[in-house]
């Protein structure tokens, strides 16, 4: 418990922990000292000089060291002759701060006047107008007239693209360096810098591609003026015209809290559409940041390719029909199939959807399968983070182990949280087959060979050889968090890895403790929720599907993922697909049921840290599609089970009654908020940026089974993966994740992030490529187990280990796990 310091700010007595900066102490007391360059999440620099205040300290006699007292016996206060910047001064006992004397107000006015001298008259065309700290502080403190001649204004480049995602307007920049410091301090991707000197100073980016950072969008939130704006939101709307709707990002399992801003749009015929995604403050999950994939990857929900009505396969193919007709057919075939029903759900569905689907399937006696390439959810359920955990609290004395995950590509905000924990002194251990963006912060790095992740983990557990020190750090750490991902791994491999990692946790006696636990880096956002609702992955998915009497696929595209699954689906008795788009699976279906996107309805997602969070509707659903849980409820009603199909809140009550881990949950509880620090408020966006404050819920973290059911065990009937034999002339293919892929939920944002998307390419060590007979930029056809992919480009990277080929997921190369592949040159000329 830190020492407390008492000081006086504007006649208010304030007590704060030692080391608090004066500006933060004032904020906690409700006094707003204006700032530009200071941001509560970064080190102060005292550059902009806006936060000048009058500082008085108790006088101390130089000779005796005793405080000097005045006539009343009070400590005499000596005020500094010059104003001081409150953002750089830590509080001290007995300090007296004055923030509203005429001198201080004059100083604020002067600094605003200086900032406005070369600031362009851009407010009407600037995207920041309406949520601009400079505007707000000018109104509060600035002069009404300008004394600076218009012709003298500094003319600089406007509308400079820093990469295709962010625009920089150099004239508007007030050189507060918040963006540079964010990239340096918080993200450690120092791709921005100052150039030139004095009034000619400008922001430049030195990376290729420009502004190469997955967090670039956050700089537009903290920029106090409209210098940094996103290309996605350029001229889209004025902030005061937008409605705010709370939501959760659906791109990865972190579960970042977002705010969707909506407005009507003429182009869409007057419908409400999402104009932009902004972060919503949740210090327990994503603080005030979101990654660019979440910020720019929401367009899929509004894509023109959405299915808008049910379809049924007739002679001429799939034809649009009414809901009744479609559901009649589904009911009929479900009753026929009965226990031969296989429901395959994807991790994009909300808990309510999954619950209802599970209920119907159970009622029929069918199988509930989860479509995922990352397994081991049962272990996370048992050994996940203890309730009340916060990755933001990890620091000195704690240990984090990340195995088989390129965390920045798989879940950027978790990468950020882990990196910040390492900055605070946590011992980070990275076990991965190749170097990643986590290595610079790791205290221990071990690169194992692809396919030997279990051995590597075993060596760490035993403390063998070079891993002895790491093992000791693991043992002696107060808290231990283990992330396991899918770097080069498929379902069976990740499941085995999860088992080993869980064993490590259980053996260390930390199972179920707060700030300790197992986290799976899923490939979808609600995979863990699917596990909680009873869905399980199936190693022989093709077998399960081909043998099914009826395959009911929700939010999954197995046919598009792998030709073997496509073939299996052809053998299924009947195929019902409920999805957003006409995926390859939907195109094969007998019945297609249109689903609503997450922006059009409410529900909950369970994040990888097992936090249940609510998302709220932002736009009206188009007529036709229904929420997935509604569809399942209607189907259920037809086959004889009563389910809630209208109110997601009621479904949650039923989940709370049926699923032990969710006992006691309801929407009110999930929507509870408590005060967070730093105080992000829309009225004073100068302090924390233009992210949104959180009124709609911090979510509820579930207690792991290790606590609620200590004697229970995990039993998974999945065979351990067999070691892969690579025949002569073939090469080991390892599937890896790239943040910007060509998956269904990102492809509609092609216009924005298209240039950064992973292409149809594979990566090899140059010697390996040469050994196989290819060079960089060769075009090849890959032949795997039951699939081929042609038109694939070879890329080389010296940093990669030899004898392995890295294939990004979701670019059209169907490998679901490690396998041996052959490369054939792409034949471009017709054979004679």
């Amino acid at each position: 418990m830190a020492n407390q310091v008492t000081l006086t700010i504007d006649d208010l007595t304030v007590t704060v922990p030692e080391g608090t900066l004066v500006v933060d102490a004032a904020r906690k007391a409700g006094i707003d000292i204006p700032v530009f360059c200071y941001h509560p999440k970064m080190e102060p620099v005292g550059m902009c000089r806006m936060c000048l205040v009058q500082v008085g300290r108790p006088m101390v006699d130089r000779a005796t060291g005793q405080p000097v007292l005045d006539a009343d016996g009070q400590p005499k206060i000596q005020f500094s002759p010059k104003l001081e910047t409150s953002c750089t001064i830590p509080v001290s006992e007995g300090m007296v701060i004055r923030t509203n004397t005429p001198e201080v107000l004059r100083a604020h006015r002067d600094i605003i006047e200086f900032l406005l001298t070369s600031h362009p008259l851009d407010c009407p065309i600037c995207d920041k107008g309406g949520e601009c700290p400079l505007q707000d502080l000018t109104r509060a403190y600035g002069p009404g007239q300008s004394r600076f001649l218009l012709d003298d204004k500094m003319r600089l480049a406007k509308h400079v693209p820093l990469g295709e995602l962010i625009y920089l307007d150099r004239e508007r920049c007030i050189l507060c360096a918040r963006c540079i410091r964010f990239q340096d301090e918080i993200v450690d991707e120092p791709v921005l810098s100052f150039y030139h000197r004095g009034r000619s100073m400008q922001i430049v980016t030195y990376s290729d591609p420009p502004f190469d950072s997955y967090f670039s969008g956050n700089t537009t939130d903290i920029c106090p003026v409209g210098a940094l704006t996103t290309a996605d939101f350029r001229f889209a709307a004025r902030p005061w015209e937008l409605k705010n709707n709370a939501s959760i990002c659906t791109q990865c399992p972190v579960g970042c809290n977002t705010t969707l801003n909506t407005r009507r749009e003429v182009k869409s015929g007057g419908k409400w559409v999402v104009k932009r995604v902004m972060p919503r403050q949740n210090e327990l999950v994503n603080e005030i940041w979101i990654c660019d994939k979440g910020r720019f990857g929401y367009h899929y929900a509004e894509s023109g390719e959405r299915i808008l009505s049910p379809h049924v396969r007739k002679e001429q193919g799939l034809v649009p029909v009414s809901w009744d007709e479609a559901l009649d057919l589904v009911e009929q075939r479900l009753r026929q199939a009965g226990a031969g029903t296989v429901t395959l759900a994807g991790g994009r569905l909300a808990n309510e959807d999954l619950f209802n689907l599970a209920q119907v399937t159970d009622h029929l006696g069918g199988r509930k399968l989860l479509h995922t390439q990352v397994g081991g959810g049962e272990y996370v359920q048992r050994y996940g983070l203890g309730k009340g955990s916060n990755l933001g609290e990890l620091g000195k004395g704690d240990a984090i182990l990340v195995i088989a995950s390129d965390l920045q590509e798989e879940a950027p905000v978790w990468w950020l949280r882990v990196k910040r924990a390492a900055d605070r002194g946590a011992a980070l251990m990275v076990l991965n087959p190749r170097p990643t963006r986590l290595d610079p912060y790791a205290r221990f790095i071990h690169h194992y060979r692809y396919g030997e992740e279990l051995e590597a983990l075993g060596r760490l557990a035993a403390g063998e050889g070079e891993l002895a020190e790491a093992a000791e750090a693991l043992r002696s750490a107060e808290n231990l968090v283990i992330f396991y991902g899918s770097e080069g791994l498929g379902l069976a491999e990740t499941t085995a890895l999860a088992r080993e990692a869980a064993g490590l946790l259980a053996g260390s006696g930390r199972a179920g403790k707060v700030n300790s636990g197992l986290i799976g880096v899923w490939q979808q956002n609600n995979t863990l929720g699917a596990y909680d609702m009873g869905f399980r992955p199936e190693a022989d998915l093709a077998g399960a599907l081909s043998g099914s009497g009826l395959a009911w696929i929700a939010a999954a595209d197995p046919a598009g993922d792998h030709p073997a699954l496509e073939a299996a689906l052809k053998q299924a008795g009947f195929l019902v697909v409920q999805d957003l788009f006409m995926t390859r699976t939907a195109q094969m279906a007998d019945v297609v049921l249109p689903a609503q996107a997450f922006t059009e309805r409410e529900g909950t997602f369970t994040s990888g840290e097992r936090r249940v969070q609510r998302f709220y509707p932002a736009v009206a659903a188009p007529p036709g599609p229904l929420a997935d849980f509604s569809i399942a409820a209607r189907v259920g009603l037809r086959v004889g089970i009563e389910l809630e199909g209208a109110s997601a809140a009621t479904v949650m009550l039923r989940i709370a009654a049926s699923v032990p881990a969710y006992a006691g949950l309801d929407y009110a509880l999930i929507s509870e908020v408590s005060e967070q620090w730093p105080i992000i408020g829309r009225e004073d966006r100068y302090y924390g940026g233009t992210g949104y404050d959180n009124h709609q819920g911090l979510g509820v973290q579930l207690q792991p089974d290790a606590v609620t059911d200590p004697d229970g065990e995990v039993s998974i009937a999945m065979a351990a993966p067999a070691p892969l034999q690579v025949p002569e002339g073939a090469v080991y293919l390892a599937p890896v994740t790239r943040l910007y892929d060509q998956g269904l939920t990102l492809k509609p944002s092609m216009k924005i992030v298209g240039q950064r998307m992973a292409r149809r390419e594979v990566w090899l060590n140059p010697e390996t490529a040469a050994r196989l007979g290819f060079g960089a930029a060769s075009l090849v056809t890959l032949e795997g187990e039951g699939w081929t992919a042609s038109g694939v480009e070879i890329r080389v990277d010296e940093q990669l280990p030899p004898d392995v080929l890295l294939a990004p997921r979701s670019v059209g190369i169907p490998a679901t796990g490690p396998e041996a592949v052959r490369l054939r040159p792409l034949v471009t000329e017709p054979e004679a």
Partner: protein, 414 residues
């Protein structure tokens, strides 16, 4: 005519003093050898007692600065500030070019006193030839066993390195210098913490001017009583005055502190060009507060404490003389343009304020001065004061405000 006293510019009396054997024959390295026999803390005390004050412009007591270094954080560093960029200052250059060994000896004494094993010489970018020259001298000293490991049979090891800047005046400011030395953007740091506690790479660092360091061999070699016979009680020793401007004989003049402006300008400097009438004195280069050159000012002794009498600091003693042919409007435009060009841009008032003042002074000199512009210039200068991150911003206003206050007639339109 009273003579100059060559404690620092000894090469003017002794030819080839830059050669090691000549230097050694002329009491060279006696100070350093004496220091090596003393305890480092005693060296600090001796320098404290000598009353030596920093010659870079601030006039801070050197020994006191050294005593601020904590003894629980290592290593310590000493950085010699050879970024001589103040307009009208050219004293360090003469020392480095003609008497480099005395400077190096001073640097070595300073390193020993604060127990630093590494010393850096930060030179302005334009001194690349001097840097090469110094590198030669350092190599010679290493050859002679005066630098390197176990110097002269003691346990003390010292290595010196030169480092070039890239043409920014702001890198003469000590924390900006440290940033530049560390390879970062040359912008001043927040103080506190001060470099003595958290300096180069976060370690305790002493930054001293070249001239200051060049005094140390005299102090250690010849003793405090010898040193204190020159100068005044509060400003002991000699100072190299860089005389320039409208005088007949501009140049470096080494005089004991306490001699008057009259002596400097008329006796050594040969008086005003073309027998002109002196108008003002700038004692601290472009950062000066203008001094009206009346009889009282001319007879003021040039010391660090003269600020009390004249209201203007001695600074680096870059004495620029202005006569009646100089229009103060033009002069102020010159100083403001300099500061606008050199402002690092980190803090708002200096960056925007110097830019704004520059536009106003340009207008004032464009032939159609607007009387409101003069009021505006005063206002802007006053707005800058008291708010800047470092001294550059504050000093940029000195010539403006003193010029307008004391020479108002020059600003009232042509």
């Amino acid at each position: 005519m009273s003579d100059q006293v060559y404690l620092l510019l000894r090469h003017r009396e002794i030819p080839d003093l830059d050669r090691l054997e000549v230097y050694r024959q002329n009491e060279g390295f006696q100070g350093f050898e004496k220091a090596l026999q003393m305890k480092p803390a005693d060296v600090v005390q001796q320098v404290k007692d000598s009353g030596l004050r920093g010659r870079g412009g601030a006039g801070f007591p050197t020994g006191l600065k050294w005593s601020f270094l904590p003894n629980n954080l290592w290593p310590h560093y000493v950085v010699a500030n050879a970024d001589e960029s103040e307009p009208g200052t050219f004293k360090d250059r003469e020392i480095l070019e003609r008497n480099p060994l005395q400077f190096l000896e001073g640097l070595m004494i300073a390193c020993y006193a604060v127990q630093a094993n590494t010393g850096y010489i930060y030179l302005r970018g334009e001194f690349w030839q001097i840097a090469a020259w110094l590198d030669e001298k350092i190599a010679e000293l290493e050859q002679a066993g005066l630098l390197g490991d176990r110097i002269l049979g003691t346990d003390y090891s010292l290595r010196l390195y030169t480092h070039l800047g890239a043409g920014a005046y702001i890198c003469g400011e000590e924390t900006a210098l440290l940033e530049s030395l560390e390879g970062k953007l040359g912008q001043p740091r927040l103080r506190p913490p001060f470099p003595a506690v958290e300096g180069l790479y976060g370690k305790p660092t002493v930054i001293n001017n070249v001239e200051t360091l060049s005094n140390l061999p005299v102090i250690l070699g010849k003793g405090n009583s010898f040193y204190r016979q020159y100068g005044t009680d509060r400003s002991p020793g000699t100072k190299i005055f860089c005389l320039s401007g409208r005088v007949n004989r501009p140049g470096n003049y080494e005089l004991p502190l306490g001699r008057t402006f009259r002596e400097l300008i008329y006796e050594h400097g040969g008086g005003i060009l073309e027998d002109g009438k002196i108008k003002a004195i700038m004692s601290a280069g472009a950062s000066s507060t203008l001094i009206v050159a009346d009889e009282k000012a001319l007879d003021t002794p040039m010391t660090y404490e003269m600020t009390d009498a004249l209201g203007a600091p001695l600074g680096s003693a870059s004495v620029i003389i202005l006569d009646e042919t100089v229009d103060m409007k033009w002069l102020v435009h010159k100083t403001v343009s300099f500061f606008r060009h050199e402002s690092c841009g980190k803090c708002t008032p200096c960056r925007e304020g110097t830019y704004w003042m520059n536009h106003i002074t340009r207008r004032l000199n464009s032939g159609q001065p607007n009387p409101e512009d003069v009021e505006l210039l005063v206002d802007v200068a006053r707005e800058i004061q008291g708010k800047c991150l470092c001294a550059l911003g504050e000093f940029s206003t000195m010539a403006v405000l003193s010029g307008i206050e004391k020479f108002r007639s020059d600003f009232n339109g042509s």
